[in-house]
Amino acid sequence: MKKEPLKVKELEVQKRITSFEEVVAGYSEQEALQEASRCLQCKNPACISGCPVGIDIKTFIRKIQEKDYTGAYLTIREKNNFPSICGRVCPAEYQCRKACVLTKKGLPFASLDTINIHFLERFVGDYGMKNNLTVPVEKNPALARFKVAVVGSGPAGLACAGELARGGIKVVIFEGLHNCGGVLRYGIPPFRLPRDILDFEIAYLEKLGVEMVTNVIIGKVKSLDELFKEGFAAVFLGLGAGVPSFLGVKGENLCNIYSANEFLTRVNLMSAFRFPEFHTPVNIGKNILVIGGGNTAIDAARAALRLQLIKGLAANTTIIYRRTEVEMPARRLEIEHARQEGVKFNFLVKPEEFIGDENGMVRKMRALRCELGEPDSSGRRSPVPIVGSDFEIPCDLVIVAIGLQANQVLTKVTPELKTDKYNDVIVNPETMETSIRGVFAGGDIVGGEGTVIEAMGMAKKAAAAIIEYLSKQ
């Protein structure tokens, strides 16, 4: 018997596009039971191998089938600290769902009839949140004398802090911005990750005894050495990949050309969509182009389109991508949502130059058409510009979302901290320890841009190593 996958309920399009309310409503209990019942409970579950942190997916789905939601929650929490967050932002179609036996081999991402593992995870996570479920805290009194500094409060920092605090260690998180959460706060828009979920997870950590210190940039106001001198026994670096890449084409510094980081930071962190009640402005155009094909590009485009409508303009936001839809690294669900909401796509286009007016405002983009060539190092077919195919696209606002690089504020002033050619911190993959004894790292500052779950996985591994490191002292 083959059952159809259960589509998740979503906020209707008309309501979404003039607000920043969450789009995906999530499964009800009945829906979760129905979807969980489709799981084949394979003898050798392939889905688990697709999860970067190895969540026991088979067991947690079985526990849903048995209506043991607490058990399901605890099963996920063995590997994942923030199921409500990951259930919302994990690119499951490239991970567990792609590995699921219901996905045919060789597809670039999961087929639609694969189990909706991420929605089930979210159901369980939200159940845990609503019922204040917590995992047992096993504070080791021998560790109570230690204090560990966590630098950065993004996914890696929060996960590491939680693990250490549960082990009985005093943790202080140092965050450079005025609010915690890192990319979960400034990068991912509330329509994808509502802020109350992030706030809940942060509040839980505070309840565990984690101290959050905002407005402190380690590397500027304090060095790593000084942290040790202040009595921290170890340091975890979750610095993130916060530096935006630009295209490097002519005219890129014209006004109204934003990095996605700037645009999203203004909107998400500074609440520019509520200007002038909030004082940070953001410009909105009548004709917006977003360059890139990843989740950040989609987030920026969906936020931009909402702002157009909120400001009473017509929806006119177009994603410009060098390849085609299949090669887009973005989550399929996000692409679908963007399209439903009215975001347009212009594929096989490579920006060459931006042209402005006398006030320095961008007015058009010159670009080349591309065709798909041989697969590149990413395994995706590469875009090959067609000579002489120059054309122009009118625009009055551009958001460049073509990737991020390592944040170097700390590494630049800490030469003992070894980095690779991408300025990422080099670690021992077994322990996540850096070239400095007692300093560990994880998340995007190790190995470049990854997913939230990968960052959490590294942070958990580092936390275990930190606990072992401290236990020997």
């Binding site: 500027k220 510094n253 980081n261 200007f275 002038p276 320095g360 504020v409």
Partner: protein
């Protein structure tokens, strides 16, 4: 982040320049001449950068000086002694390279005088001969004249309206000084047109000129690129690559345009009553 002292140090009927002394022991420990902080007045506020003018390491305070030019600076000026900022982070940006250059001219325009003061002081301590040119719109808006005299060998004041010192522009004085004898460095902070013109005059005389740019910023740690400027044909982030650059290399027209990107919103919000 508590304001321990507040003084209006200059005012005319339409403009005020305010000095705040803010408690921040960590920043006071670390801030060096040329560095800045980013602050938020309230939870709903903007993040704005301001240069650290002075620090009291023992007392754990830093001094900021700003002119009420827009919504956020007016809001900041409304705060009183014993009130606190919502956020304060720093020190940010690269410090000024303090060395013995020989003969240095420092040019400060308007509130920019506050920004050349810590640099003048540090350069003087290094044994440089300091020649300061201070420009103000009118006598009432001239700040820190006495303090600049304490750290300078020579001080020349110009006002736009001739109400004090010499009537005219700082660049005229600069041109004359550079005509008369040779100098090793010019350092300038002030309105962009002033810095642009100072850079042209210094470059004409083949003297290296350093300017501190006041680009718009959001996070100010290199994460957003709002503050990008073209220097020597390359894109730089003022916050992490600057804020100081060689004036001769800066694409001034681009900076002028980029700093006007939110003029419309600024006009709108400035019409609203302050919260």
């Amino acid at each position: 982040m508590k304001i321990v002292d507040k003084n209006v140090i200059a005012q005319t009927p339409d403009t005020r320049i305010v000095q705040l002394e803010i408690s921040s022991p960590d920043i006071a420990q670390k801030a060096l001449p040329g560095q800045f902080v980013v602050l938020m007045v309230s939870e709903k506020g903007e993040r704005i950068p301001l240069t650290v003018v002075e620090k009291d390491t023992l007392g754990g305070t830093i001094t900021l000086i700003f002119q009420e030019v827009g919504f956020t600076t007016r809001l900041l000026a409304k705060l009183n002694k014993d009130e606190a900022l919502y956020a304060l982070v720093g020190p940010l940006g690269n410090p000024t390279e303090i060395a013995n250059y020989g003969k240095v001219i420092l040019v400060g325009g308007g509130v920019g005088i506050a920004e050349i003061y810590p640099v003048a002081k540090a350069l003087k301590d290094k044994g440089n001969h300091i020649n300061a040119i201070l420009g103000a719109r009118t006598k009432e808006l001239l700040i820190l004249e006495k303090k600049m005299q304490e750290v300078s060998d020579e001080v020349c004041v110009t006002t736009d309206d001739g109400s004090y010192g010499r009537k005219g522009l700082v660049t005229e004085v600069l041109n004359e000084l550079l005509d008369k004898q040779s100098y090793n460095l010019v350092y300038a902070v002030g309105p962009i047109p002033m810095m642009k013109n100072v850079s042209q005059v210094a470059t004409k005389h083949k003297v290296k000129v350093i300017v501190s740019l006041n680009a718009l910023m959001v996070d100010a740690t290199g994460m957003c690129g709002c503050c990008r400027v073209t220097v020597g044909g390359q894109t730089k982030f003022s916050c992490v690559d600057g804020p100081e650059f060689e004036g001769a290399q800066v694409d001034w027209d681009e900076l002028i345009k980029r700093n006007r990107a939110y003029l419309e919103q600024e006009r709108h919000i400035c019409k609203l009553p302050l919260p």
